[in-house]
Amino acid sequence: MIAPTLGALGAMAGLAINLPPPATGIATEIYELHTLVLWICAGIFVVVFVPMFYALWRHRKARGHVAAGFHGNTRLEVVWTVIPMLILVGMAWPATRVVLAMKNVGGSDLTIKVTGHQWKWEYEYLDDGPRFVSNLATPREQIDNGQPKSDHYLLEVDKPLVVPTGRKVRLVFTATDVIHSWWVPAIGVKQDAIPGFIREAWFQVDQAGVFRGQCAELCGVGHAFMPIVVEAVPPERFAAWKTEQATATAIAAAAGKEFSLAELKTRGEQVYTTNCAVCHQPTGVGIAGTFPPLDRSPVATGAKAAHLDRVFHGKPGTAMQAFGPQLSDLDIAAVITYERNSWHNQAGDQLQPAEVAALRK
């Protein structure tokens, strides 16, 4: 029939038709569970549809078949009620085992807090490690078909989540604005990140590798543009990576430096493209009725302090989130300077990282 033919053709054309190769024990169990159910369905398919198509062929009026008059058979009806029940028990048993295994978050080696924001993921290594925001790395030009698309189009980030191999990683999830869902198929974890609540999940990857996924819960206009990349590396490399991150943070913290307007605008444009352009649009005009424009807006052309306050603390009850906890002092200073001096906005002033740092005290 059409279905298997499509599948076969797709497979021949090199298209994926099944769950991706599992990278964790749980993902392997899910894969096998799916295969089991699929075979059971295939069996039932044959048992139901072979007789049906046989009847459609043999018992046609066109062949002169005369209808029988029967309309019930208690024994048969009992059989086809009881047998499906037994099959279901056979399916429920292994599924229950996997459910319990997935819930077993105890005895983990490290815990990472995953926070969903519209539209990026933030990772914080709760034990001793770094904290950073992971953004889509695919350039806007590729999405708008202005450039050829890269291999990992829409599934690439600026900073991946790095985890050690052979360690049980516990993830705790939350979100700041709307519900997101953190999903990496090869790892077998999909968990909603719910604002105001904490949920948890775990995984353990044994082979080093890069695994890609994306947000699975509709979260607004950027829903398709918040991918997840997990990089599993051997524990030694993981330790080295963590040290690197600590150094980078230290450098960022020592931000006593003064920047020029041009420097700030250049950096600000990058920050704007990554964090602001989805809503406020690359040209600053926003989306009428949903996302206000920045071009000629009272905030971006008014007092600097009010502008900083809005970016730093957000506007509660709207999609405008608080960027203070997400971005570095330099990035906040840069993006505000960019917004005040782009499009039709000609404030001419600038914000230095030190002024942002003052807010953090």
């Binding site: 009847a55 018992h59 209808a67 509709l218 949903t290």
Partner: protein
């Protein structure tokens, strides 16, 4: 030519022209209104789907910005469910329930008029919402907060529209229940009712039970948006997941509201064209009732990824799997009805058989999704999109098409064009499978639903699905043409064009007179459904 000139016997005054339709209390007129309304919404919501598939034809953003794309997916779902599928079934109930039980009309004719005329008001609100600042509602038909709370004025219009649609459904359901329980011809006991009437009786109880729940939960959204409550806002002590629990406590019975009448239609058509009584009538009734009861105990299987405790996941997994049993009984009974029949393949039968075959595939994917660990991989992916289109397009929508072809001769007095009907059937069935089957693969391979742009490995099957969708969409114009052609003329149908039909409507002339069964029919000694 209006009905009065056709049937001079019934020369009671009724209005003509627009006023006839605005003021009518006749179940046949109101049934017709429901069905035209449904067809209009089906074509409109279908064209939204065409835009969605055009955008998804290739990776990259082609025609639509994400903000517009999200409006299309949300409104496609909302309009198909509340505008196309549900009103179509109510239309059939209006036309057929009185005819099949030998009643002169619905129990509350004026209420019936009001139930229908609420619908265009709701539809106007939803359609107008595309033109307000910010565009239409874009939070998915499931309306999840906090995303829903962020939206503009269109979101309030959606809430109001849902209230109106809900009132319409509740009034319609009360009318149907009252009609069935009180207006049956003497001698037609409950267990002699045609199965279509049974499925509608049970569906109507589901409607009365769950539409108020939907109304409550959207009212909570409204007060969260405008009146300072925090039902779904953790910052005020609320919980966004509570919305999902309440919504799906409505939402899952809603799924069966859209499929039980389809079961009734299939159970009517298959015995007709197999020329053999329905196998296992009593077990069919019990199966429908058990499905309806179980449908209240499975809601959280829509929420396995929200992170509920293991005990919750296991309970909802087991209860969901249990639904497979009565559903399986229905499919087995249909196959047994066909067995050793004298089968012919007119268009209604082709559609009914396709419903059995394709709905069962939707049942299989439902079984796959019932397994919590597998569901966690597939939740919110294209696999789910494939699953519910197999259930709602090839289950509900194709059964509606089957019923239209089946009863058009009775309603219009003309036979439809069989050649066009079959063309419509084959194009629809083939295009449907080309559209939706590959979506199983897309979901397994990791493509989330509700995204306007996707990674490159999903390109092949998306292009295939889009091509299928365009053919599927275009084929429905053949449907429209065939229906209009049949209304305007065609070979005379005679009282009973289907020799295997057994229900009461076929004892009436075709087209069915404007007023029928003013005196109750006398039932044959032979019961409508013998079930010894």
């Amino acid at each position: 030519m209006d009905a009065a000139t056709l049937h001079p016997v019934h020369h009671e005054a009724h209005e003509t022209g627009v006023m006839r339709w605005l003021t009518t209390t006749n179940h046949k007129d109101i049934g017709t209104l429901y069905l035209w309304f449904s067809l209009a919404m089906f074509l409109f919501a279908g064209s939204l789907a065409m835009l969605i598939r055009a955008e998804l034809f290739q990776p990259g953003l082609q025609f639509l910005q994400p903000a517009v794309f999200n409006q299309l997916t949300a409104m496609h779902g909302l309009l198909m469910i509340f505008g196309a599928i549900m009103p179509a079934f109510v239309g059939f109930a209006n036309w057929q329930v009185p005819l099949m039980i030998g009643a002169p009309d619905m129990a509350f004719p004026r209420l019936n008029n009001w139930s229908f005329w609420l619908l265009p008001a709701a539809a106007c609100l939803l359609l107008a919402s595309f033109f307000v600042p910010g565009g239409a509602m874009a939070a998915g038909w499931t309306l999840y907060p906090p995303l829903f709370i962020q939206g503009g004025i269109a979101y309030d219009m959606t809430i109001l529209a849902i209230h109106i649609l809900g009132i319409s459904s509740i009034l319609g359901a009360i009318n149907i229940i009252t009609t069935i329980l009180n207006l049956r011809a003497p001698g037609m006991t409950l267990m002699k009712m045609p199965l279509f009437v049974w499925t509608w009786l049970i569906t109507a109880f589901l409607l009365v039970a769950v539409m108020p729940i939907l109304a409550s939960v959207v009212t909570m959204l409204l007060t969260d948006r405008h009146f300072g409550t925090h039902f779904f806002d953790a910052a005020g002590g609320g919980d966004p997941v509570m919305f999902q629990h309440i919504f799906w406590f409505f939402g899952h019975p809603e799924v069966y509201i859209m499929i039980l009448p389809a079961f009734g239609i299939v159970s009517t058509i298959i015995p007709t064209f197999a020329r053999k009584p329905l196998f296992g009538y009593v077990s069919m009734v019990y199966a429908v009732a058990s499905i309806a009861i179980l449908s209240f105990m499975v809601w959280a299987h829509h929420m396995f990824t929200t992170g509920m405790p293991a005990a919750g996941q296991l309970f909802f997994m087991y209860s969901t799997m249990l639904i497979a049993v009565p559903t399986g009984v229905k499919v087995f009974n249909w196959v047994a009805t066909l067995w050793r029949g004298s089968i012919s393949f007119e268009t209604p039968m082709l559609f009914a058989l396709a419903v059995v075959f394709l709905f069962t595939i939707g049942g299989f994917s439902g079984l796959v999704l019932a397994m919590v660990p597998v569901d966690i991989q597939l939740q919110d992916t294209y696999y789910v999109v494939a699953h519910f289109h197999y259930v709602l397009f090839s289950g509900a929508a194709m059964s509606i098409m089957a019923a239209i072809y089946y009863w058009l001769p009775k309603w219009t007095g003309h036979m439809y064009d069989e050649r066009l009907g079959k063309l419509h059937f084959w194009l629809t069935t083939i295009a449907f499978n080309i559209t939706f089957f590959p979506m199983h693969f897309l979901g397994l391979a990791g493509m989330p639903r509700r995204i306007p742009d996707y990674a490159l490995q999903f390109a092949g099957f998306n292009m295939m699905a889009s091509i299928g969708a365009f053919v599927l969409g275009a084929s429905q114009l053949i449907f429209l043409y065939t229906v209009v052609k049949c209304i305007r003329g065609g070979a005379p149908a005679g009282d009973k064009p289907w020799d295997g039909a057994t229900t009461l409507e076929w004892t009436l002339p075709s087209p069915a007179p404007y007023h029928s069964f003013a005196t109750p029919p006398v039932l044959d000694e032979e019961p409508v459904h013998d079930h010894t």
